[in-house]
């Protein structure tokens, strides 16, 4: 610590150079933070509730409906606590670009999701009103929906029986997620299955998928297999997965986001390593006589090594932290720009970031520091 003023003096020797190096490190970590936020947003998390939920869909494909009659059979499977069901609607609000998830659900659907918080009277209103709909807070904010509004959706799959393509719903509730990291779940709209099933022109008596809550998450796999066996060799075979596996498979279908993000990050850090590495060795080269003087007045080889290494570590740490702080602001802007986005720079990203800062500092600083340590006083002084 007593060397800190010396390290500082070294950095302040050429202010412009230090500033430029610092800025490029900041930029690198700003990118790292934001890209990592994107990666995290596409990572499926473990949650207690998620572990006890199963998704039952058609084995043929997710778009194939299942008979409503399966409900009673699934409910009788041992280990099943509760069964809800849903059907994708895919309606459009005003313009095709305003995409958000909307689907019809059974009355007990929200009981499956204790992580969604909805006032009791709004929950009751949903059960009482046939045309009722509930939206997430994110969605409500985006389109300025208020309880009591009538929301028209243009059907893409299910035209209404009355010949009109528009379905109208009464907004009775707005839910929030219990935890901030689940904010992206607030971007959906749900409404009642009975209203939907009666109004649609085809497919009556079928549902898109069943959600099953198991009493013991440890036995989830077992229950899933029992359900699938129940419908094996029937006209509608099922595929039952834990909610986590279902989500994982879905994210995988979008593409290998982790790979793309880490390739970009690789290119970014290679560039930064090159930039700062060269600057550091340049800085040391210019200061060889000074370092020789330090050694002459009694600084040990090791101290000189730390002096130089300290400079690069300090640069990496300051630049990296500032970059990550900027990324936190940037992730907020990103969430606002992309509908339904919940990007945030979390503790995990900071931890990885700190590790990268250390590695960067050492990788950049060690070669010149090593050279400074091995410096022979006589040679170095003569160079002037």
């Amino acid at each position: 610590m007593k060397f800190l003023p010396l390290v500082w003096a070294g950095l302040m020797r050429k202010k412009a150079r230090t500033l430029l190096t610092l800025l490029s490190i900041i930029v690198a970590f700003l990118l790292f933070g934001m890209l990592d936020a994107v990666r995290v947003a596409f990572t499926v998390r473990d949650s207690l509730e998620g572990a006890s939920r199963l998704v039952v869909s058609s084995k043929l494909s997710i778009i194939q409906p299942l008979p409503y009659a399966d409900l009673a059979q699934i409910q009788r499977v041992p280990g099943v606590e509760q069964v809800a069901f849903a059907n994708w609607f895919g309606g459009i609000y005003q313009d095709r670009k305003n995409f958000f998830a909307n689907f019809a659900v059974s009355p007990n659907y929200l009981d499956m999701y204790p992580e969604f918080v909805l006032p009791e009277e709004q929950q009751q209103a949903f059960l009482k009103t046939r045309t009722a709909a509930i939206v997430g807070a994110n969605l409500a904010k985006r389109y300025n929906f208020k309880v009591g509004d009538r929301i028209p959706l243009q059907a893409t799959i299910f035209p209404h029986k009355n010949g009109d393509n528009t379905w109208t719903f009464d907004l009775v509730g707005i839910f929030r997620t219990r935890e901030a990291r689940d904010r992206n779940q607030e971007d959906q709209m749900i409404f009642r299955y009975d209203y939907f099933d009666e109004g649609r022109t085809f497919g009556q008596g079928t549902v898109g998928w069943y959600m099953v809550k198991v009493s013991d998450p440890g036995r989830a796999q077992e229950v899933a297999q029992t359900i699938d066996r129940l419908f094996a060799n029937s006209a509608d075979e099922t595929k039952t997965q834990t909610e986590k596996q279902f989500n994982l498979d879905f994210v995988k279908q979008i593409g290998d986001i982790g790979l793309i993000v880490s390739s970009i990050m690789g290119a970014v850090f290679f560039t930064i390593l090159l930039l700062t590495g060269n600057t550091m060795s340049q800085a040391v080269r210019e200061r060889i006589p000074e370092l020789a003087v330090l050694k002459t007045i009694g600084f040990s080889n090791r101290s000189v090594l730390w002096l130089v290494l300290g400079e690069s570590l300090l640069l990496a740490a300051v630049g990296g932290s500032l970059g990550l702080l900027l990324a936190m602001a940037g992730a907020g802007a990103l969430s606002a720009a992309f509908r339904g986005g919940a990007f945030a720079v979390g503790a995990q990203s900071w931890l990885t970031g700190l590790m990268i800062m250390t590695v960067l500092g050492v990788a950049v600083g060690l070669p010149p520091a090593w050279r400074a340590m091995r410096l022979r006083i006589v040679d170095a002084l003569v160079e002037r």
Partner: protein
């Protein structure tokens, strides 16, 4: 003329010293290579996705969907609708007077992917008998066409590379039925991600009795308006009709825009870093040569050639970086195949495309970064008082 001579002279002198400061020169080259490489690679994703869908569309084909359906998967047409649509004016007929149209069933199946082993959605398209005339780009490259009335599949080339177990002769299980793979087709467009079969047999497997879309060949490009007018005025039909070129272009719009925004944003942030790097290098270059520059000025060289020569040097190094970056992106990613979820909720296989236009874009970025990074050091160099610079060392 004297100016030009001076510029060339100074630039040549400074370029000759590059080998002695290779390390710092490499910073500009490497930094910009990184920016251009990332930019070109990311934009190549969007370019590839856009082009595979654009290839599927034509000006003289039209696709009919149920009104309001934005994709085939959302659409539904009855058998009566299909008959009515095929009789509409503007549709090309063969010598026997039969309209060249294909009423198609579009469904999705779960098949394991080669790369991960996990299930992903693949599109199965039941196509009419005239499809090989309608989509003349599609041709069988292995095996044969499927036969009407049989549980047979021909596999798109892209689907075969992405999904496991789709070799000719293998069977695929759809529900309780076994289907046989009898051939592989190539078409160079988004249809290569699909599996084709007989529509009626496919309806049976999925327990349906309607169709999703009708694609027709127009008598000529201008016949579209007549077809559209006829279909929209028919009270028995509630359908939307579009040229296939417009239909497929819309499908790539969202993803392409997203990738463009991301690519440019990331490259811009990296570009800022590279500008700092270039500034650093050029300041260093100018400061080590300050005596030399002062000498030139004392000899009568004017300030402007000094400025221009420093910027030329930065631009030249930047261009080298740009070429390397774009070259790496081209070598590593041109024709790299990937797949993502398309409008029909199933995998669309596409190849990254590093087009000449993208490379040009990348080089322009490189030039911009280089000039920006050279400007301030150049001005700094020219502004240095001659006397103090001469005395400095």
């Amino acid at each position: 003329m004297r100016w030009l001579e001076q510029i060339l002279e100074i630039t040549w002198m400074s370029l000759a010293t590059i080998p002695r400061r290779l390390g710092s020169a490499l910073v500009i080259v490497g930094g910009i290579a990184g920016v251009v490489g990332v930019l070109v690679a990311l934009l190549a994703i969007g370019e590839g996705f856009q082009s595979v869908l654009a290839e599927a569309g034509r000006l003289d084909d039209a696709i009919v969907l149920r009104k309001g359906a934005s994709a085939e998967l959302n659409s539904g047409l009855s058998r009566e609708d299909v008959v009515l649509i095929a009789q509409a004016p503007g549709i090309l007929r063969d010598s026997a007077g039969i309209p060249i149209a294909s009423a198609e069933v579009v469904v999705v199946a779960n098949l394991p992917k080669r790369s991960s082993g996990t299930d992903a959605n693949v599109e199965i398209r039941g196509v009419g008998q005239r499809v090989w005339e309608l989509r003349s780009a599609a041709r069988i490259i292995e095996g044969r066409r499927f036969e009407t009335g049989k549980r047979e599949l021909v596999i798109g080339k892209g689907a075969q590379t992405e999904f496991a177990g789709l070799e000719v002769g293998r069977t695929v299980r759809l529900g309780l039925q076994d289907w046989t793979v009898v051939g592989v087709f190539a078409s160079g467009d988004a249809h290569e991600s699909e599996l084709w079969s007989d529509p009626e047999v496919l309806q049976g497997a999925y327990n349906r009795d309607g169709y999703q879309s009708v694609t027709v060949k127009l008598t000529d490009v201008d016949a579209f308006d007549a077809l559209k007018a006829a279909l929209s005025s028919d009270p028995r039909l509630t359908v939307d009709v579009q040229r296939t070129r417009d239909y497929y272009a819309t499908q790539s719009e969202d993803l392409t825009r997203l990738i463009r925004i991301l690519g440019v944003a990331i490259a811009a942030i990296m570009g800022v870093g590279a500008v700092f790097g270039a500034l650093n290098t050029m300041y260093a270059a100018v400061s080590t040569r300050s005596r030399e520059i002062a000498t030139l000025r004392a000899l009568g060289f004017s300030a402007t050639p000094v400025v221009i020569s420093v910027m030329l040097e930065a631009a030249l190094l930047a261009l080298v970086g740009g070429v390397i970056g774009a070259g790496i992106a081209w070598a590593a990613f041109d024709n790299y195949t990937a797949s993502t979820l398309g409008a029909n909720f199933s995998q669309v296989v596409f190849a990254f495309q590093v087009s000449p236009r993208l490379i040009l874009d990348g080089l322009l970025w490189a030039l911009g970064i280089g000039l920006l990074g050279g400007l301030f050091p150049a001005v700094h160099a020219a502004r240095q008082p001659v006397t103090s610079a001469l005395r400095a060392l």
